[in-house]
């Protein structure tokens, strides 16, 4: 009998609503922690695995030596490499494609690379405007590497003590 009476009171005096409003009211005056993405960004781990890049040595020579280990290790078969002897006798790729739709961003390719050529950068904000754009070729990968070399290098440096 008493329980029925209390429920009656709570229903008619909008008790649940008031409780909800009370919670909102109490948060209204506390410190906010919303990040205003894309104006604000959270920090990323130096091990973040985002978009791929091919790096160069400081003298401008591409690092990749076409050993095809990344291609062999890739679990998603996302990498396609063709290689040839370059005029100066060195072993180089003539084609290096990464299919970003196939890639699972596992980072195995980076692990396998003996010369730190293929790396996963911390770039994760990218989009495609057509199907063909989902495969980045060698020139594209080298361009990404050139553009973000400093951040790539810093990230590797930060991570180095733990390797």
């Amino acid at each position: 009998m008493l329980r029925i009476f209390i429920r009656f009171i709570k229903t008619y005096f909008l008790w649940e609503l008031l409780r909800g409003l009370a919670l909102t009211g109490s948060r209204l005056f506390r410190r906010k922690f919303t990040v205003q993405y894309p104006d604000e960004k959270t920090p990323k781990s130096p091990r973040f695995r985002g978009l791929h890049a091919l790096r160069r040595y400081p003298n401008g020579e591409e690092r990749c030596i076409a050993c095809k280990l990344c291609e062999a290790v890739c679990p998603a078969v996302a990498i396609t490499i063709e290689s040839e002897e370059r005029e100066d006798g060195t072993r180089r790729t003539t084609r290096y494609d990464v299919d970003l739709f196939k890639c699972v961003y596992c980072g195995f390719c980076e692990e396998a690379c003996p010369v730190d050529s293929i790396v996963l950068t911390d770039i994760h904000e990218f989009h495609f405007e057509g199907r063909e754009g989902t495969v980045i070729d060698k020139a594209g990968l080298l361009a990404i590497g050139d553009r973000y070399e400093s951040s790539i290098a810093t990230a590797r440096e930060h991570d180095a003590p733990y390797r």
Partner: protein, 792 residues
């Protein structure tokens, strides 16, 4: 047989064999680098150290003969410690550049370092650096990787017969190198690539293009010679990346000639024809298959109706498959014409009706090394059949003897007991002299005597005859390509057959490429498939060319270079009203062709090859044909349908094959008894400096034999290729007052070419050597006599 115990396992092994051989037989693994079952034992890598009970220290398994009751441990602490120690020493000077090494992924050193090497090197001193010599267009060197196993050296010395690579220096300074500035020119040099356990010797054409793990392997048979070497075609991304041998002890053992190994570059050539063509005015237009087939069928049946089927003739390249030969002759015979032939460079067909089922070797290839005596007649064996030459070399090593009767003093890679060199025209005469001396008391037919009397008798003939008599074991007389293409080839065959009939001598008439299959499939004018006769023989190659037929079918050949009768050919094709060319290469299509079918090559087509000892080997296609090219047997089958011929309803290559009986009897290649010996040719015109007329020694160099090898770019850069010149000996150079490098006009009948002079002391007085098979000498065809005009 003795009993030994390896790793607790009791094994019965042959007395005198080495521990490693006994272990291999019992499938017990012992690591190794320098040991190879086909090479002598060097025991210089020390990787195979094992513990033998009662021995004070570990012993090399490859060089320790077993003894009864020996107890061996391959994985005991002492053995493993020794192996690990050896590995550490081997890696001291090794650059560890696996990521850029072509051997990476299939490298015994890499594999064994994983098993026996440490994870961190204790060696911090500087590593040895060695220069990489350029040893030719086929083998790439990276000598810092060399571990001095000397397999490559032993291969050259023992198997190939020319020691081109050698070890110079000792200890840390030891280097593998050629004689300064020399290249490796052996025709079997590529095997050193397979033998080298590290990446010190790698394939130049394959360099950096693929990794072992991404290659798909397919079985194939080499079409370039009559041995039918077993190939392992390795492909990636729809191209042939490299070719490796497939071990077959009956055929190629574990070796491969460079021609078989590197001819795939021709398959990948940019000259491949990818689309059917038809002539429109004076140029070719690419069309769909249906259009080309329809056009060809209409033209052929029109000509057949208007001028009779005898006005159509077909020539096939001897590199085609059995199925292609069969369908080509079925097509021709279905049209009503027997004019079909594959003997493109043969010029003498007089003994056709007496020939055996197919030319071949009466002694199986695998028994050649066990023969006692071999006489090579008109045969540059080393360049013709490089792997058979290795077996003949083995024969010499076992105490056998070899003699050669050749039109020039070819360098062989085995010792010749007798090297007889006579002018080309005197080959039958010299063979007749030997035959008469060998057979002795038997009555000699008059014709044979006439032949013999063309040249004066000499001591050498008697010596050679003596060499061939009174021995235990097989005696073989081999007639090579020079004999088969000789103007008097039927005389040579008849004399050899006479010799064989009166002695126990076995014969070998070497067919060209897959020629044996062509004979069996009936791709000859006087026989149908399986050797069945024809009522009236058709025209052979030379008759077809001189008869000026109205339609020619050219199957897989490059007319200007694959035929002996080249001059005839151009006019015959120009006069013909219809020329149908099946060609894999754009530049091999004759300008006179009306319809061109793009042909798949041996890597892209299922087919059967019959080698010289009658071994039929069938393979599937290794890959899809390039572009719109199609396998020859499919094209012929569909062309048969377009022509509405009966019996062209095959579904697979197997169906075609089943029409041919391939359970072949033991090879007998000698001419049937009763074959008349052709009368002796008149004496050749003697040479005089004034007439400047020379007898020509002619052969087909190893890398000019067919359209595929002619387009294999690396082979074309080897020393064996630069032969298209006028070779003559130094005295004649003086007599003619010319010097090396001078340009001369070479005139044969109506055609002439300009070539340079090369001194070559292998050539006799009165002769010049001008090979055929290349563009530079194409207009001369197989001409036997030429006139030289010095250009001043």
């Amino acid at each position: 047989m003795v009993m030994i115990i390896i790793d607790g396992q009791e094994i019965e092994a042959e007395a005198g064999s080495m521990i490693i051989q006994a272990a291999d037989k019992a499938d017990i693994y012992i690591p190794r680098f320098c040991y190879h079952e086909k090479l002598s034992i060097a025991a210089n890598c020390r990787m195979c150290l094992v513990e033998v009970e009662k021995a004070p220290k570990p012993l090399p398994a490859c060089a320790t003969p077993i003894a009864d009751g020996m107890v061996i441990h391959t994985v005991s602490e002492q053995a493993v410690e020794a192996q690990q120690g050896t590995m550490e020493f081997l890696l001291i000077n090794h650059p560890l550049d696996c990521p850029i090494c072509d051997q990476g992924g299939e490298c015994p050193l890499q594999d064994q370092a994983l098993g026996y090497g440490g994870d961190v090197s204790r060696f911090s001193e500087g590593k040895r650096v060695v220069d990489d010599p350029d040893i030719g267009p086929l083998i790439e060197t990276e000598m810092t990787r060399c571990i001095h196993c000397t397999r490559c050296v032993r291969f050259g010395q023992e198997v190939a017969g020319i020691m081109e690579l050698g070890a110079i220096g000792r200890g840390e300074d030891m280097k593998i190198a050629t004689v300064i500035g020399r290249t490796v020119d052996s025709e079997v040099s590529g095997n050193a690539i397979d033998l080298c356990p590290v990446g010190a010797l790698t394939s130049k054409p394959y360099r950096f293009t693929a990794r072992a793990w991404e290659l798909a392997s397919h079985d194939a048979i080499s079409p370039h010679d009559c041995l039918g070497s077993n190939l392992n075609i390795q492909t990636a991304h729809d191209t042939v990346k490299r070719v490796l041998p497939r071990t077959n002890e009956h055929v190629n053992e574990c070796w491969l000639s460079d021609r078989d190994r590197f001819s795939y570059e021709g398959v990948n050539s940019s000259d491949r024809l990818l689309q059917p063509l038809v002539r429109v005015g004076d140029r070719f237009e690419e069309v769909a298959w249906e259009v080309a087939l329809q056009r060809a069928a209409t033209a052929l049946s029109d000509i057949g109706k208007a001028e009779g089927p005898g006005a159509i003739g077909a020539l096939a390249s001897p590199t085609a498959t059995l199925e292609e030969f069969f369908l080509l002759q079925q097509l021709m015979r279905g049209l009503g014409s027997d004019n079909v032939d594959h003997r493109l460079r043969q010029r003498d067909f007089r003994d056709d009706s007496f020939t055996a089922l197919f030319p071949g070797t009466e002694l199986p290839v695998e028994q050649i090394q066990d023969a006692a005596r071999v006489l090579l007649v008109g045969c540059h064996l080393r360049k013709e059949l490089p792997l058979v030459a290795l077996r003949v070399r083995e024969l010499c090593r076992m105490g056998g003897q070899v003699a050669a009767l050749n039109p020039m003093d070819y360098e062989q890679n085995f010792p010749l007991t007798e090297a007889l060199v006579v002018a080309p025209s005197a080959l039958p005469a010299a063979l007749a002299r030997i035959a008469i001396a060998r057979v002795d008391q038997v009555e000699v037919p008059e014709e044979l005597r006439q032949w013999a009397e063309l040249i004066p008798d000499s001591e050498e003939f008697a010596r050679t005859a003596k060499m061939l008599s009174d021995v235990e074991g097989e005696v073989v007389v081999v007639l090579g390509q020079i004999a088969a293409q000789h103007r008097e080839a039927s005389a040579l065959r008849a004399i050899a057959s006479w010799l064989a009939q009166h002695t126990g001598i076995r014969l070998a008439f070497l067919p060209e490429a897959n020629g044996a299959a062509a004979w069996i499939a009936g791709c000859v004018p006087h026989r149908q498939a399986n050797g069945d006769g024809v009522p009236e023989p058709g025209l052979n190659v030379s008759q077809m060319l001189s008869a000026r037929l109205s339609a020619y079918l050219l199957f897989g050949l490059e007319p200007t270079m694959d035929l002996a009768a080249t001059g005839n050919l151009v006019s015959a094709l120009s006069d013909a009203s219809f020329v149908l060319s099946f060609s894999a290469f754009r530049s091999a299509v004759p300008a006179q062709a009306d319809v061109v079918f793009p042909l798949a090559l041996f890597t892209e087509s299922a087919g059967t090859y019959v080698n010289c000892d009658g071994r039929a080997q069938s393979v599937e296609a290794a890959m899809d044909p390039r572009g719109m090219a199609r396998a020859g047997w499919k094209i012929l089958r569909v062309l048969g349908n377009y022509l509405a011929l009966p019996g062209f309803d095959y579904i697979t290559a197997d169906d075609v094959r089943s029409r041919v009986n391939l359970s072949l009897p033991e090879v007998v290649c000698r001419l049937e008894e009763g074959c008349p010996l052709p009368g002796a040719a008149s004496k050749s015109v003697p040479w005089s400096a004034e007439s400047q007329r020379f007898e020509r020694v002619v052969d087909v160099p190893i890398y000019d034999v067919d359209p595929i090898v002619r387009r294999a770019s690396s082979l074309q850069r080897t020393r064996d290729h630069s032969l298209a010149a006028v070779h003559m000996n130094k005295e004649q150079l003086l007599a003619l007052n010319v010097k090396a490098g001078d340009s001369v006009r070479v005139i044969a009948d109506t055609d002439e070419v300009r070539l340079t002079i090369t001194p070559d002391d292998r050539v006799l007085d009165g002769c010049v050597y001008i090979p055929m098979g290349s563009a530079a000498t194409a207009p001369l065809g197989g001409a036997d006599y030429i006139e030289l005009k010095v250009v001043r």
